[in-house]
Structures are given as structure tokens and as C-alpha cells.
């Protein structure tokens, strides 16, 4: 897998998403409270706007989630699945911390 450097780990706040550009793909990148990293597609499949990174991070019964700020559907950060409407999902991307840099794997 090819890895693309995105930003310094320190520039991510806990429980807060940021948008990133992976080639042409808008990606939403999250760092959760316990330091885990997740990357999913930034485009909300229900409205087509690039807003997932601006959603609120949390959990549903322990599953880490993000809620789209547009119409509030909740997605699993691990699988990208929409927990309110199984069958719909966001693309997910491999993500890792290398030293102090966050990298996303190109699909």
C-alpha cells in the first residue's frame, strides 16, 4: 500500500474531525479521545456535500461514530456503515501514525 502524508499528528484535536484531500478524494480524518485514528469519505452520501469531517464524534454502544452535520445520520468510524440505515456506507481508508506524521493509505 502507498501511504500519503497528510499532516502533523499534533495538528489533530481529540474527538474532532478535519477534512483532507487524498489525490482527488475528499477524506474525513478523525482522532478519537483515546488516540485512535480513522479516515472515511468526507462526502455525505445522503446529500452529496463534503461535510462528514465537520460532524460530531462519539460512540453508539461503544462503536466509535460520527454524525453527519447535514441530516444527522450516524456512521461507524470503523466500518463506514450508516448505523441508522444499514446498507449505506462511507468509504473507509487505512490510516496510521508514523512518528509524528499522520498518513492515509491510497486505495
Amino acid at each position: 500500500m502507498k501511504w500519503q502524508q497528510i499532516c502533523a499528528y499534533e495538528s489533530l484535536s481529540p474527538e474532532y474531525g478535519v477534512p483532507a484531500l487524498l489525490g482527488e478524494h475528499p477524506v474525513a480524518l478523525f482522532r478519537t479521545g483515546d488516540g485512535e485514528l480513522f479516515a472515511v469519505g468526507n462526502v455525505d452520501p445522503y446529500c452529496g456535500a463534503g461535510v462528514i469531517s465537520r460532524g460530531i464524534v462519539g460512540d453508539r454502544e461503544g462503536e466509535p461514530t460520527v454524525a453527519s452535520p447535514m441530516l444527522k445520520q450516524v456512521f461507524s468510524l470503523r466500518t463506514g456503515e450508516c448505523l441508522d440505515d444499514p446498507g449505506t456506507r462511507l468509504p473507509t481508508f487505512a490510516v496510521r501514525r508514523k512518528d509524528d506524521v499522520v498518513e492515509i493509505g491510497l486505495p
Partner: protein, 836 residues
């Protein structure tokens, strides 16, 4: 073949009859002519008094558009029936028409009884029955003066309260030795007198009115009682009982009951098979009923006969009553006076607390026959449906305050929970389970229960929980507490952050429900800038970018324009900014100028220019105070009586930035013409000659509502003080996303309770609420200015973290009417599978 039904009287019962016939007569066999003597179509007479307490005639109306447009209903207002010719089967109207009928229903109600004391017909004497009566009383009332109500029954006390709302000092004159002699026994009467006295009513019991006295112009100047007492007053309201309006009966050869009323059998038929009588004018088997519920039952009985030629007879009536509006709880139900042979009484009186309760039981103490509750009628909604049934618990347990011993579970299915609308427990629980109702409003809408006098509403709540509808307060899976409980926890413990709160009082990591709610609580309590550190991640996108998210992922920018007043220079700045950044501009209903289409990365630059020009955040994005709309007021408007612009600006600047459970809107009108539409707002202010009237709990939106009067004729500072208290009380105790109207409805006691807390300081928290608001005002600083000063916050306003200026490919615009418009976005395929 269509037949003609004439209904005489468009009051509550006449209207219900027409509605019932129309609902049952699917084939349209009846054409209905309704003659109504009043100038308005039927309205809720039971709620008449609320007309002086903020409700409009429109609010009280019982008719819908569909009804007025119904081609089979011919409603003639301002038209009375003058006589009935039974042989020709015609009705002559007061405007000279002669109308033929196949069936005739008399629903003429009753008229107030005015005892023939000397002076009873002077200018300044009124009765209390119609909206017109209330308009006349309102016009005659002078603030600060005494007013006299003759009659201390249920209606007399309502009328006295009405005078009180009009700013008068009411005196109540009652012939019997106690107030509400029909409903309340001696013990209850004593407690009642004291409670009513505390409210500022002067009570004269055991007192006969000797005369109403005139001044030189022949207007009322006072009232003299039999013991020589005189009361100086120019307003006298008679409320000494009612008499059925049976005047059409005798000339038509219809029989009247011994004590008045059109005599009918248990199917509401007169001696003429084509004529029925229903409501207060009817004497069913010789007895008249002065309440609306039995009238509604009669309407159903007759509609059944007209349409299905069948149906049951009149089953008798529940004469239970509850005093509305005075802020004193009084209820009586069933055989309140223990007239049944061998009846036993159990009394619980607490003089210290000012409560009195009595149950009347059968001779073996097993069956509940009736009762009286004064001071605390909380148990009424449980006890009333139990009348005639075996007690579910020992009587003392039923009587203890809070009606603690029993709940909805104790009621049998066929017990009538809502007597106004004749809805049984079973009807309600079936509706709840089958229609999956989840709140009281839905139950009201579906079953009509709770829509009239409202006394059964607490029971509806109980039934919801009995049906397993979780009325749990838990905010979400992460917090077992309600929003108001969390507010108190944060307030009391001084907790500063979400993680501390969830660590100590919740579980998990939070979600899009609890995070913004807690963010709002922290912001209301002034715990830092909304984008400080951890706070940023709690915010809904709007608060995160201090702008309103639009459908294509761009934001709108809305600077504050307090009270809608703006200088030409500022207008020009807005125009220049919008032009330079290519934004769509629109003037909104809230007197703001919105600029749409800004990208995240443009927001700081746009705001830098606005802040430099003296603008600040308008909070159009937040669950916060949005706008205080104003009219032009007395500076410019020839009708204005106060400076509505200055007041609107003062209020908007005072409450700007206040985070609340739901967005808040306000308006200030310079006179009753109401150009600022203040009564559709969460808090609205309307100028009077003497100051300001404050209305609360209005809103537009899905279920629009008019705000209701909280307090009248306030001076500037008094107004601000009450709004401070009202808003803080709301911010502290409302549920998440609960509008002020829903919040008021959800409080036990509703608006009256709000008035007690906010105006009368019944909980002793007014000073605390004011201090909290003062702290908010003191802590305010412009959020956008704060962002522009802070590089860390600014760093978040980028299109992409690794390409801060690259435009987002999902955003594009076209042009329409000379401005930009978002292009509908190409939807990604929803069910795509992408492997990591």
C-alpha cells in the same frame, strides 16, 4: 333526498351537534342551516376567561376552515330564531326569513341570571357569558379601582379573577355563608376563602346585595349590601347563576320543565317528534345541566338519531368541576355533599399548608361517591374517574398530598378519564398503543382528551407511562440525567468540560445529542469561548464554524443588526462584502441581511471585514437569541406609544450570545397594532399607554402559537427584570431542543406556574436568576472577534488540512436572477462498498 336540519344556536353544543352530524352523514342526506345570534361562530366558552389572559378570539374559536367552507352547512351569524311554527315546520328568523325544516334542534344555551336588585340595569352593570360581554368589561375596567362581582360560585370567582387581570381590586359578594356553595362544603369553603384572600380578592360571604347605586349621570357608582356596607365601584359583574333560554318553547307549544328549560326525554326529544333540544337549554327528563360535557353527550345522542335512526339514550352526567385560572386549586366531583343515604366522609385538612380534602364514601366505605379538594387538586384526575367504583387503596392514602397512593393503574378501562370529551381510559390506552403515540400532544390530537378544560392532562401523562412509553428523562445513552438535571450538576459542581462531566456523571464518549447540549449548558454558564480547546468538538457544525450550514456544505453569514436598525455605511459594507466574495444576499423575516454561499476557508476573511466595520456575530447559527424584531415605534409612527426601537435594541444587546435549549426570537411593537409580530415570538413585548406588556411562549414553525400575556404595563426596568428571570428559568429547566411554548406546556401548572415563579417569585429564586443573567451580560464578548484574534481557532477554517486553500470539489454554483445559486450535487452512489 336531502332534508333540512335547522340548528338554533351556534354555541359549544350546537357546534358539536353539527360536527357530529357531518361526521356521521357520509351520504350527505342532511343540509344544515345554523342560526347563531352572536356575531362570531362557535367558540370555547369554557375557556372564555382566558380571553382576558392573553388568548385571542381566534384562539378560542371552535371552527375550522373546512367547516366554514362545507357546502352542506349554511351558517348564519347575527341571526336569531324569532319563532317556531311546528305545524308548518318553519322557523322565522330575526332578519325576517322563514325557513322550512325536516328536523329542528334547539341549542340556545342559557342566559346569566341577574337578580332584580334596584339598579341592576345601570350603565356599568355587566354579565359574564360571551366574548362581547368581556369586551365591554375590559373597556369599562379602570386599573387600581375596586370592582364588584355578585355571586361567589365557580363563574363568579372566574369573573373576579378576570377583573384582577384587568388590574382591578375585586370584591366578591356571595349570599351563601361560603364561596362556591354548590361545590364545596364548609371546611373547604374556609380554606378557599383564605386562599382567595391571599390573591387580593375581598370576599363578602353571607351578604345580600341591597342595591346598585347610581351617580348623577345614571352610571354605577357603588354597591350597598344588606348590612349597610358600601363598596365604591363603577364596574359590577353579575354572576349569580344561569337560566335556560327556553323562550322559543312556549309560543311554539313545546313543554317546559317545572324549573325552566325545554323539556326533553332521555333521547333529547321534545313532545314534537321533529324537534330536539340539547345543551344548557334542554331539561333532560326535567333536569338542566350547566356544563359542556353533558351537552356534548346530548349532541351525540341526537346526531345518532338523525343519521342512524338509532343510538343510545342520554346516560346521565358527570357534574364534576374544577376551578380554572385563579391560581387556587378547587375541585369537586360526584356526590360532593354526601347526600346519598348513609354516606361516610373522610376529611384531611392541613391548615398550615392551606389544603382541604374530603372523600365521600358509601355506607360500607368501599365505594367512592364523590369528594372535594381545595388548595391542592392534584388527586382530581385520578379520583374523578373512580367515582362509583370500589376504592383501589385506603381512603387516607388517596387523600394524602400528591395523591401518592394511586396512579393510572388503579383505574378500570371503562373509567372516563376526560369527562369534557367523554374519553375512557381504554380509548386512550388503545390509541397510545395502536397509533404508537409518544407524548401528551399526540394523545390530545388523536383522542380529543385533554383539549377542553385540561384537568385530565396529568392523567394522560400517567397513561403514557403505564403503556410503557418511556417518558424517561435520560438525555441519551451516555447520560441518565435530563438536560435540566445536567444543568444543575454543572451549575453546582463548577465542572468546566465535557470530558469531566461524562467521566463523573455519564458513560461512553458522548454523541451528537449530548455533546451540543452540554456545550450549550457550558456556554450558558459562561465557561469559555465556544471554540476553546475541547469545546470545539462538542459543537454542532453551525457553532463550530459560527455560521449556518447550507445544503451544499457552504455557510451563511449573518451579522447582528440589533432591533433591525442599521446605518447607511453599514448597509454599504454588507453590500461590498457580499459583492467581493460573490455571496447571495437576502433580507430575512427577522430583519437581518443574510449572505449565503461562503466556504469554510472564506469565513475568517469575510468576518474580518465585518468586524472592522463594527459588526458582530448575529448568532444566526446558534441555539441562542436570534433577533429582536421591532417596528418603528413612537419616533416615527403616528400610532406608537413607546420607543419600541430603543427597547428592541436594549433587549437584543442584553441577551445576545445567550445559549438556550432552542433558538430564541423576540419582537417589540410600539402599540397594539403589532407590526413587529411580537406575539409570535418566544418573548414578545407590546407597548401600552402605561408601559409594556410582556408575552411569552409564542412561536412560528411547525405548530405555530401565539405568546400569552405574562405581565402587563411594566416600566422599562421592570420589563427587563422579568425577561431576565423568564429566560434564565427556561435555560435552566427546559429539555434539549424544547421551545418555550412546549416548555411552558410541560410544566405542571403551565403559564400560571411560570407567572408564580417569574413574577411572584414563589420559589425564591428570582434573585439567583437575575444574578445569572447579569453574569451572562457581563461575560459577553463577540465570538467572531475572539476567533479572529486566535491563530489556533483560525487554523480550523481550512478547506483541507493538507491543502488549506484548495477549493472543495463538491461545491459549485450557477446563476439565477443575477445571483449565485448552489448546483444540486452529483450524489455519490449510496450503496458503494469500498475496502480499506
Amino acid at each position: 333526498m336531502t332534508r333540512t336540519l335547522i340548528v338554533v344556536g351556534h354555541g359549544m353544543v350546537g357546534h358539536r351537534l353539527v360536527e357530529e352530524v357531518r361526521a356521521r352523514d357520509a351520504a350527505g342526506t342532511w343540509r344544515i342551516v345554523v342560526l347563531g345570534e352572536e356575531s362570531r361562530p362557535a367558540y370555547d366558552r369554557v375557556a372564555l376567561s382566558s380571553y382576558l389572559d392573553g388568548k385571542s378570539a381566534e384562539d378560542l374559536s371552535l371552527v375550522t376552515h373546512e367547516f366554514l367552507d362545507d357546502p352542506l352547512v349554511d351558517l348564519r351569524l347575527d341571526t336569531g330564531a324569532a319563532s317556531v311554527d311546528r305545524h308548518a315546520r318553519t322557523v322565522s328568523t330575526t332578519d325576517g326569513a322563514v325557513l322550512g325544516y325536516d328536523a329542528l334542534v334547539l341549542a340556545t344555551g342559557s342566559r346569566p341570571f341577574v337578580p332584580p336588585v334596584p339598579g341592576h340595569d345601570l350603565d356599568g352593570c355587566f354579565v359574564y357569558r360571551t366574548l362581547d360581554d368581556l369586551d365591554e368589561i375590559r373597556d369599562a375596567a379602570t386599573e387600581g379601582k375596586p370592582g364588584v362581582v355578585i355571586g361567589g360560585g365557580l363563574l363568579g370567582l372566574e369573573a373576579a379573577n378576570a377583573l384582577r387581570l384587568l388590574g382591578m381590586h375585586p370584591h366578591v359578594v356571595e349570599m351563601a355563608p361560603r364561596l362556591m356553595p354548590l361545590q364545596v362544603d364548609e371546611g373547604g369553603g374556609q380554606v378557599l376563602s383564605r386562599l382567595v384572600g391571599d390573591l387580593g380578592l375581598t370576599v363578602h360571604c353571607g351578604a345580600a346585595t341591597q342595591s346598585v347605586d347610581a351617580d348623577e349621570q345614571g352610571r354605577v357608582r357603588g354597591v350597598t349590601l344588606a348590612d349597610g356596607t358600601t363598596i365604591d365601584t363603577d364596574v359590577v359583574v353579575f354572576s349569580a347563576g344561569v337560566r335556560p333560554r327556553d323562550e322559543l318553547a312556549e309560543p311554539a307549544g313545546l313543554e317546559r320543565a317545572e324549573r325552566g328549560g325545554i323539556l326533553v326525554d332521555d333521547r333529547c326529544r321534545t313532545s314534537d317528534e321533529h324537534i330536539y333540544a340539547v345543551g344548557e337549554c334542554a331539561a333532560v327528563e326535567g333536569r338542566c345541566y350547566g356544563l359542556v360535557a353533558p351537552g356534548y353527550t346530548m349532541a351525540e345522542v341526537v346526531a345518532g338519531q338523525l343519521v342512524d335512526a338509532a343510538g343510545d339514550g342520554f346516560p346521565g352526567a358527570d357534574m364534576s368541576t374544577k376551578l380554572k385560572l385563579l391560581g387556587v386549586d378547587v375541585a369537586s366531583f360526584g356526590d360532593a355533599h354526601g347526600t346519598t343515604g348513609g354516606a361516610l366522609e373522610v376529611v384531611y385538612a392541613n391548615n398550615a399548608a392551606g389544603t382541604y380534602a374530603k372523600l365521600v364514601l358509601s355506607d360500607d366505605a368501599q365505594v367512592l361517591l364523590g369528594g372535594v379538594l381545595v388548595g391542592d387538586a392534584g388527586a382530581y384526575s385520578v379520583l374523578r374517574p373512580l367515582v362509583g367504583r370500589e376504592l383501589p387503596a385506603p381512603p387516607e392514602q388517596l387523600l394524602l398530598p400528591a395523591g401518592s397512593g394511586v396512579d393510572a393503574g388503579a383505574l378500570p378501562g371503562d373509567a372516563i378519564v376526560c369527562s369534557c370529551n367523554n374519553v375512557s381510559k381504554q380509548d386512550i390506552t388503545t390509541a397510545i398503543t395502536e397509533q404508537e403515540l409518544t407524548d401528551v400532544a399526540a394523545v390530545k390530537g388523536c383522542t380529543k382528551a385533554g383539549t377542553s378544560c385540561g384537568s385530565c392532562v396529568p392523567m394522560l401523562k400517567n397513561l403514557l407511562s403505564e403503556c410503557g412509553v418511556s417518558t424517561s428523562n435520560a438525555l441519551c445513552e451516555h447520560f441518565p440525567q435530563s438536560r435540566s438535571e445536567l444543568f444543575e450538576i454543572v451549575h453546582a459542581t463548577g465542572i468546566q468540560t465535557f470530558s469531566e462531566l461524562i467521566g463523573r456523571h455519564g458513560s461512553g464518549r458522548g454523541c451528537d445529542i449530548c455533546k451540543p447540549a452540554v456545550a450549550s449548558i457550558l456556554a450558558s454558564l459562561g465557561r469559555g469561548h465556544v471554540l476553546d480547546g475541547e469545546h470545539a468538538g462538542l459543537q454542532d457544525t453551525n457553532d463550530r464554524f459560527l455560521a449556518n450550514l447550507q445544503r451544499n456544505g457552504t455557510y451563511s453569514v449573518v451579522p447582528r443588526i440589533p432591533g433591525g436598525e442599521i446605518t447607511p455605511d453599514k448597509l454599504i459594507t454588507i453590500g461590498e462584502v457580499a459583492r467581493d466574495f460573490g455571496l447571495y444576499t437576502k433580507i430575512t423575516g427577522g430583519q437581518r441581511i443574510d449572505m449565503f454561499g461562503a466556504r469554510v476557508e472564506q469565513l475568517p476573511e469575510i468576518w474580518r471585514r465585518l468586524v472592522d466595520a463594527g459588526f458582530e456575530s448575529g448568532h444566526a447559527y446558534g441555539k441562542a437569541l436570534r433577533t429582536v424584531k421591532s417596528c418603528v415605534g413612537n419616533d416615527w409612527c403616528r400610532y406608537g406609544v413607546q420607543d419600541s426601537v430603543a427597547m428592541a435594541i436594549r433587549l437584543e444587546l442584553r441577551y445576545r450570545g445567550l445559549r438556550s435549549p432552542h433558538k430564541l426570537k423576540s419582537g417589540v411593537s410600539g402599540c397594539a397594532r403589532e407590526c413587529a409580530e411580537a406575539r409570535s415570538k418566544d418573548f414578545g413585548v407590546i407597548a401600552t399607554d402605561k408601559g409594556w406588556n410582556l408575552y411569552v411562549g409564542g412561536n412560528g414553525g411547525f405548530t405555530p402559537r401565539h405568546a400569552e400575556l405574562l405581565a402587563a404595563d411594566l416600566d422599562d426596568d421592570g420589563l427587563v427584570r422579568l425577561i431576565d428571570r423568564f429566560l434564565m428559568f427556561y435555560v435552566r429547566t427546559a429539555d434539549r431542543l424544547q421551545r418555550t411554548s412546549a416548555w411552558i406546556e410541560s410544566l405542571e401548572g403551565g403559564l400560571e406556574h411560570v407567572r408564580e415563579v417569574v413574577v411572584e417569585d414563589s420559589l425564591g429564586i428570582a434573585a439567583d436568576l437575575e444574578a445569572a443573567m447579569a453574569a451572562h451580560v457581563g461575560n459577553y464578548s463577540d465570538e467572531w472577534a475572539g476567533v479572529l484574534r486566535d491563530p489556533h481557532k483560525l487554523a480550523r477554517f481550512v478547506s483541507f488540512v493538507n491543502a488549506p486553500d484548495a477549493p472543495d470539489p463538491t461545491i459549485s454554483f450557477t446563476e439565477e436572477r443575477g445571483q449565485i445559486r448552489p448546483v444540486s450535487l452529483p450524489m455519490p452512489s449510496i450503496r458503494q462498498e469500498v475496502r480499506a
